[in-house]
């Protein structure tokens, strides 16, 4: 019951904008908001576990998002220029292009993530100030690398034909790609939840998020688990990057930094270390951003800060915070 309360309260609140717009606009904005929320969730899920398990503030998480987007961009571009997999009116080829872009981005991000964790993060365990400085430093280096390899300007991300345009559902226009993003987000959430609740590694990670010291004196090498979580979180950030690139149909070197701000807000709203909290927080941020951007465009970013402050006043540990 106590777990359901924040979900019900949020759901009720999000019917409110209906009073200020017609139903069609509302549905369009809701789909866009849910999609944006799901993409932020992909970034926040890794961030919340990385912070929850080892108290590590990883500001380089956004750079992994950018790297994922660019690697996915290169693969999509290549497949489309060589064989026209994006432009082809073929669902299998279009899906294959998306899958290949995602896979390549995730593989590169896992490698980069492990390298970051070993070289940059490990020496500064337990020291937040150093973590912020060194991961911000790493972000600058990684973003510069992107500018060197791919150039400093915005580029157009090829979007497979299947995912372009919209479906017409009972006179309401529903854009296709956001629906794909929502479905993918739900699948990722279910996958993480199953891993955390049904496997031994998940059990140890959940226990470690609550009390890392205790998990070590029960005989578990927490660093080994942390490396895995860091790698998985990096892969999710890269997945978010590819999806965001297709969602916004562009890639930019600084795209990760902007997402990171949203993701941190989401992690704090949801409660540090809680994946379910992050999902809920991400949907709140995505939806309110879209509603408010339509109604009062100037307040779109401010509304998320306001929501964060409000939630922290009501529940200082966030929606699902363990209160550690």
């Amino acid at each position: 019951m106590r777990r359901a309360a924040p979900i019900l309260a949020t759901a009720a609140l999000f019917l409110l904008p209906l009073a200020f717009m017609d139903a069609r606009t509302y549905v369009t904005l809701t789909v866009a908001g849910l999609a944006m929320g799901m993409l932020i969730f992909l970034v926040a899920a890794g961030l919340t576990l990385i912070f929850g398990l080892m108290d590590v503030l990883n500001f380089a998480h956004g750079a992994l998002f950018s790297w994922g987007a660019y690697v996915g961009f290169s693969v999509a571009l290549l497949l489309n220029q060589r064989w026209g997999w994006a432009a082809a009116p073929s669902v299998p080829l279009n899906v294959l292009l998306l899958a290949a872009s995602i896979l390549a981005a995730m593989v590169v991000a896992v490698g980069l993530g492990i390298l970051l964790e070993r070289v940059i993060v490990r020496p500064v365990y337990g020291r937040h100030m150093f973590q912020i400085l060194i991961t911000l430093g790493a972000t600058i280096v990684i973003e510069e690398l992107i500018r060197m390899i791919w150039g400093p300007n915005d580029q157009v991300m090829p979007v497979p034909l299947t995912f372009q345009g919209s479906w017409d559902v009972a006179d309401v226009i529903v854009l296709r790609f956001p629906v794909v993003a929502i479905v993918l987000g739900v699948l990722v959430y279910l996958g993480i939840t199953l891993l955390l609740t049904r496997t031994r590694v998940g059990l140890i990670v959940r226990a470690g998020v609550e009390n890392g010291e205790m998990i070590q004196v029960l005989g578990h090498n927490i660093y080994r688990y942390f490396t895995r979580v860091f790698a998985a979180g990096s892969a999710l950030a890269a997945l978010g990057g590819v999806m965001w690139a297709m969602f916004s149909q562009s890639v930019r070197p600084a795209m990760g930094g902007e997402q990171l701000i949203f993701a941190f807000i989401v992690v704090i709203i949801g409660g540090l270390g809680s994946v379910t909290g992050s999902l809920l927080g991400a949907l709140i941020v995505g939806l309110s951003y879209n509603y408010v951007a339509f109604l009062v465009p100037k307040a779109a970013i401010g509304i998320n800060m306001a929501i964060m402050v409000l939630i922290l006043l009501l529940r200082p540990t966030g929606l699902f915070g363990a209160g550690k």
Binding site: R200, Q216, G219
Partner: protein, 242 residues
């Protein structure tokens, strides 16, 4: 010719002149103790004497600046905590350290080390000692009473076939009747495992203890047999205020 004195039974755990710093503070300034096999050794001392720091140094959560810790004759200081406990040491920390968001069952499972299939077979014995844990197996550990949390913490250290249990102030904050139950359970466990116990409750300490070590200001200042301490009112008054 007088008979040779019997060689002193080798202690399971030996701590020699331990010095531990927390930040800049020199907290342990020479702690020494030996835990005899199959005995209960009690660490006594006032609040802030360094009892918890000693336990945390033994399991590797704090690194000693000087001194030695040997388990079964093997030096363990300098090893990380997860390697130290895998040698056969169970740790019940001050304040229980249970995972409140996990169920009782998950708390026990996370403690079972993979290479010990024997652990599963120990569960019936644990549930016989602490029947409440079996009843609330699927409950979130955070919803247990203080006494049940303590039992869970002890059970968690007992699921593996450990040779040594380190237990830090198990009676803290518990009602007398619950403490009695804990004493009874620990009496039973005594025959199967060596225990190093920190305990401020003198009734509990003297009921369970065979040997005692007295810490003051981060140093071992006295040690001996528990039975002797029980009658040494001057010593008790000076260091324990009882």
């Amino acid at each position: 010719m007088p008979p040779e004195p019997p060689p002193a039974a080798p202690a399971l755990l030996e701590v020699e002149d331990l010095h531990t710093y927390i930040g800049q503070h020199h907290i342990l300034q020479g702690v020494s103790l030996r835990a005899r096999r199959d005995a209960v050794t009690v660490i006594l001392g006032r609040n802030g004497a360094g009892k918890t720091t000693t336990m945390r140094t033994i399991v590797g959560l704090l690194r000693p600046r000087a001194g030695a810790i040997r388990f079964e004759g093997r030096p363990i200081h300098g090893l990380p905590p997860y390697e130290i406990v895998r040698l056969g040491i169970g740790f019940v920390p001050e304040g229980q350290g249970i995972f409140a968001t996990l169920t009782v069952d998950e708390n026990l499972r996370v403690a079972m080390l993979d290479e010990n299939p024997e652990s599963r077979d120990r569960l019936p014995r644990i549930f016989a000692l602490f029947p409440a844990l079996e009843r609330f197996r699927q409950a979130r550990a955070g919803t247990l009473s203080g006494g049940q949390k303590q039992m869970l913490s002890i059970a968690r250290a007992f699921v593996n076939p450990n040779r040594l249990l380190l237990i830090d102030e198990p009676s803290k904050g518990l009602a007398p009747i619950i403490v009695e139950h804990l004493v009874a359970a620990l009496q039973e466990m005594k025959s199967q495992v060596t225990v190093l116990l920190v305990e401020q409750n003198f009734a509990m300490a003297s009921a369970l203890g065979d040997d005692f070590y007295l810490l003051d200001d981060g140093r071992t200042v006295h040690h001996g047999r528990m039975v002797d301490l029980v009658h040494d009112h001057a010593l008790k008054k000076r260091y324990l205020g009882v």
